[in-house]
């Protein structure tokens, strides 16, 4: 009788733990669930055309940068006082969560692409991006190259007239997700929240790996 109680107790605890693990693991989310939670995933990842940009250290960058690791890309500009620093700060919190939880931090790179190459020199981007996180990359380049790259990722941007150097740039706020094949996998919708971004990202990674 006593033995039976012990066995029942142990198996109850085991079942409970299994349930907890299943509940807490952010896996097995459907694309619809992910979308409702802020991350839109393409039904079929979209291959990208070759591109040519410059990183913050004046190195030439092409599509090879996006191979063999996951990439999050935000398009912004350093003169932007509200949305861009807010998004960079959210990305840094997102990275902090991955680091704390020891999940997928090592093969996740984060990039800011400038939509304002006229003012955002590589030197300016190095300081700006490094201010938020030393590991982040800041890309700029020829306007037409940035335009072509952004267009492939459904990112729009436009210049608002202003005086001399005091113009503003409107731009999409989505954060693009690229898979290790260098394909456009999906995007994080606006507004961004670091916790749900991390949860969604971990869910995508757990079904991919």
């Amino acid at each position: 009788m006593k033995k039976q109680i012990v066995i029942t107790a142990i198996s109850s605890v085991a079942i409970l733990m299994l349930l907890l693990v299943l509940i807490l693991r952010p896996s097995e989310m459907t694309n619809e669930e992910l979308s409702e939670n802020g991350l839109y995933i393409h039904d079929v990842p979209r291959p990208l055309n070759e591109f040519s940009l410059i990183d913050q250290n004046n190195n030439s960058i092409n599509s090879g940068l996006l191979q063999n690791q996951w990439t999050l890309i935000f398009f912004g500009y350093t003169y932007c006082p509200d949305i861009c620093p807010l998004t960079m700060s959210i990305l840094n919190q997102f990275s902090g969560i991955l680091n704390e939880e020891g999940s997928y931090a090592d093969d996740t790179q984060i990039i800011m692409v400038s939509v304002d190459p006229r003012r955002d020199t590589p030197e300016k981007l190095e300081e700006y991006v490094g201010f938020f996180n030393d590991d982040y990359l800041g890309l700029s380049g020829e306007y037409i190259e940035i335009f072509k790259f952004a267009s492939q990722l459904n990112i729009a941007f436009a210049y608002a007239p202003g005086e001399d150097e005091d113009y503003l740039v409107s731009h999409s706020g989505e954060i693009v997700l690229i898979n290790p094949n260098g394909e456009f996998h999906g995007f994080f919708k606006v507004p961004h929240d670091p916790e749900s971004m991390a949860f969604n990202y971990q869910a995508v990674r757990s079904t991919w790996d």
């Binding site: 350093t78 003169y79 932007c80 006082p81 509200d82 949305i83 620093p85 807010l86 700060s89 840094n92 300016k124 300081e127 700006y128 490094g130 201010f131 938020f132 729009a156 941007f157 436009a158 608002a160 005091d166 503003l168 409107s170 731009h171 999409s172 706020g173 606006v190 507004p191």
Partner: protein, 141 residues
């Protein structure tokens, strides 16, 4: 920080004083630290109108910046856009919050780089003639 709190407290207490027109209460003013070379910074603040008449925030000036503008970030045509507001109406007995991703005061061409722990001096000029000085603390990211 202490000085800043005193100013806020005073601006809230003023309606109780003999000056009947001084009916604006400011709170929660801050900016987030920006990279050293950044020439622009966004200021967030809460403005309450405890008076019986609506008031416009007509302009903002700062001796620490070349110019100051009231901006609203909006989502239009799939893009985040900053819209310049010529003035900001604060209805009677209501509070307007300038928050990240919503409205902010953009200071452009800062005279120097401001680090976390420092303050930026700013004047808010209202349509009823009221001018309120705020020392905006810079917060660490």
């Amino acid at each position: 920080m202490k000085f800043f709190k005193v100013i806020i407290l005073m601006s809230c207490l003023l309606p109780l004083s003999a000056f009947g027109q001084l009916n604006i209460c400011l709170g929660d003013a801050y900016s987030n630290e920006m990279p050293p070379s950044a020439s622009n910074i966004a200021v967030y603040i809460t403005i309450s109108n405890v008076g019986n008449h609506g008031v416009n925030l007509e302009s903002v000036t700062s001796i620490d910046a070349e110019s100051a503008m009231i901006h609203r970030s909006t989502l239009g045509n799939g893009m985040m856009t900053m819209q310049h507001l010529s003035e900001l109406y604060i209805p009677s007995q209501e509070t307007v919050r300038l928050e990240p991703g919503g409205m902010h005061i953009m200071l452009t061409d800062l005279r120097r780089s401001f680090r976390a722990g420092e303050q930026i001096r700013m004047n808010l000029n209202f349509s009823n003639g009221l001018v309120l000085r705020v020392d905006v603390p810079i917060l660490e990211n």
